[in-house]
Symmetry: C2
Subunit: 158 residues, 2 copies
């Protein structure tokens, strides 16, 4: 099964968090699970805040990219078409909020669950919960905005 | 001149964003500039969102660590002592908010400027502006909380 990020056009697949063509990046993968979206990520040993616990900036990064992926997937779904159909839809982050609820252990994969809170025109608000060992460790909210058409055309070299 | 992060005890210097002992990390350096704090960081070529522009998760990470550094430095200053004096003060992030105002070009060092908005007991709220080419590209707010004493003792192996 392909992840949302596998459908991003090559020209916009260099994101450090979610671009499959960024060999130094996190390369997260997001999928539908009913009306929610899911992503699992195993932090690397150097992704520490203090020894044993996950760096907050990594948590913010995962929430960010899982949310923009969720926004894109939801936009295709709202248009009743598959993610490999044209025109491609990509979202940028307008704002990101993360509440860190407890120290997040680094020894197991993190699970992220996203859901669309609001979709209004080109703006999609996504909530993301992040779990470790089944326990809610962080909660995020992202306002994602569809990449403006001219900027998208420029990025795609059209 | 030493940066705030150079004074962090070794045991809590492994943060991916600001730990001087994390060889894979960003190793940011923050300093006082009057009542504000400053940090410069040159994004690496792979820190892209889309080609030419900085990844939002990196921006969130820089804001996060510059803010917790600012909170620590301000706490020492409020106590009228140097950052190499005991007991050491370290801050964790309770919440992080970033507004992305415009795409941030990757070709020049980013400049971050922080200031304490509120300090109340162990909680310090820090605002951070992020500039590229002198232009304000992102605005962050971090609520930082001093690491609880027992947790700090545990981290320091005491």
């Amino acid at each position: 099964m392909n992840a949302f990020q596998d459908y991003y056009p090559d020209e916009v697949s260099h994101c450090y968090g979610c671009g499959r063509l960024n060999e130094h990046g996190l390369q997260i993968k997001s999928y539908w699970d009913g009306d929610e979206t899911v992503c699992a990520y195993q932090p690397r040993p150097h992704h520490t805040a203090v020894p044993g616990y996950v760096y907050g900036g990594l948590i913010a990064s995962l929430i960010d990219c899982h949310a923009t992926g969720t926004a894109a997937a939801a936009a295709y779904r709202a248009q009743g078409r598959e993610m490999d159909s044209d025109p491609p839809l990509r979202f940028l982050t307008a704002s990101l909020h993360v509440d860190y609820l407890r120290p997040t252990p680094i020894d197991r994969p993190l699970e992220l669950r996203g859901r669309v809170e609001e979709a209004k025109g080109r703006k999609v608000t996504v909530a993301v919960d992040l779990f470790a060992h089944g326990e809610l460790c962080a909660r995020g909210q992202v306002v994602a905005v569809q990449v403006p058409d001219e900027f998208m055309a420029q990025l795609l070299g059209k």
